[in-house]
Symmetry: C2
Subunit: 152 residues, 2 copies
């Protein structure tokens, strides 16, 4: 049975859910952002079946998150390289990281890994703000409205 | 067959994926953030089966994203109210919104809805920055490292 699709929903969150709700897909994107490009390496890192990994990578290529690029001739071999659209998904993963490290470990426990800036070596704590004003995007301060025709 | 679980993974992204990868769950959380509390209202909004909605709400309650609170005595009826932990998931949804509106509509098309601040009426464009410094959390500027014992 095909799941209910959300990819033509009117809500942007629902459209992303259509992709992220496929088991393994956020982790495939994550590993791609960490520099993995080859099918065998994704499979080794994730421990996922070849069939599922093939399906997930195909969708990511079809929808423009990755390019499938030949890197060897005989036999022909491909690697999977993030596009700009794929790389833009990092924002979502970064905030998932923050939520996870803050809320999904037992009291007194913490993940063994953390995000840091390469240059300053300071730890990174991702938060969400408005691009133009820098204001926190607090749920209580936000509403959803119909887009007016003047706002193209 | 039980899916591979990610909820005890060492990676914070994987732990969130364990929840978000359940079809419908991000949309249940979204609707809760929009103020929906009653089972029938979630079902009406989402068009999801009672069985799936029951399972999704149960997990959200079990894992502390929502409280199940009686609001009526005879017959007893409950509503589902986001906890602080549940509300904190808004950050993830806000960034999914931004990604979706930017990348998941055809050229020249846009969602019919947008996010705006209640007070200023300005449109909100969520972006991810580092909490302490306000620096963008660009993938190229970040690395993952082992947590050192001094950084509690």
């Amino acid at each position: 049975m095909r799941r209910t699709r959300f990819d033509d929903a009117e809500c942007p969150i629902a459209r992303v859910t259509d992709l992220f709700g496929e088991w393994w897909t956020p982790l495939v994107l994550r590993d791609a952002m960490y520099g993995i490009t080859k099918f065998e390496d994704f499979q080794h890192e994730l421990g996922v079946s070849r069939a599922i990994l093939t399906a997930r990578l195909s969708r990511l290529v079809d929808e423009g998150y990755m390019d499938k690029v030949p890197y060897q001739d005989r036999p022909v071999r491909h690697e999977y390289v993030l596009t700009d659209k794929g790389r833009a998904m990092w924002d979502v993963l970064a905030v998932m990281w923050r939520f996870g490290e803050e809320h999904l470990w037992e009291d007194g426990e913490q993940p063994l890994v953390e995000l840091a800036f390469r240059d300053t070596k300071e730890r990174v704590r991702p938060v969400v703000v408005d691009e133009a004003t820098g204001r926190p995007v607090d749920l209580a301060a936000i509403r959803i409205r119909s887009r007016t025709r003047t706002r193209r």
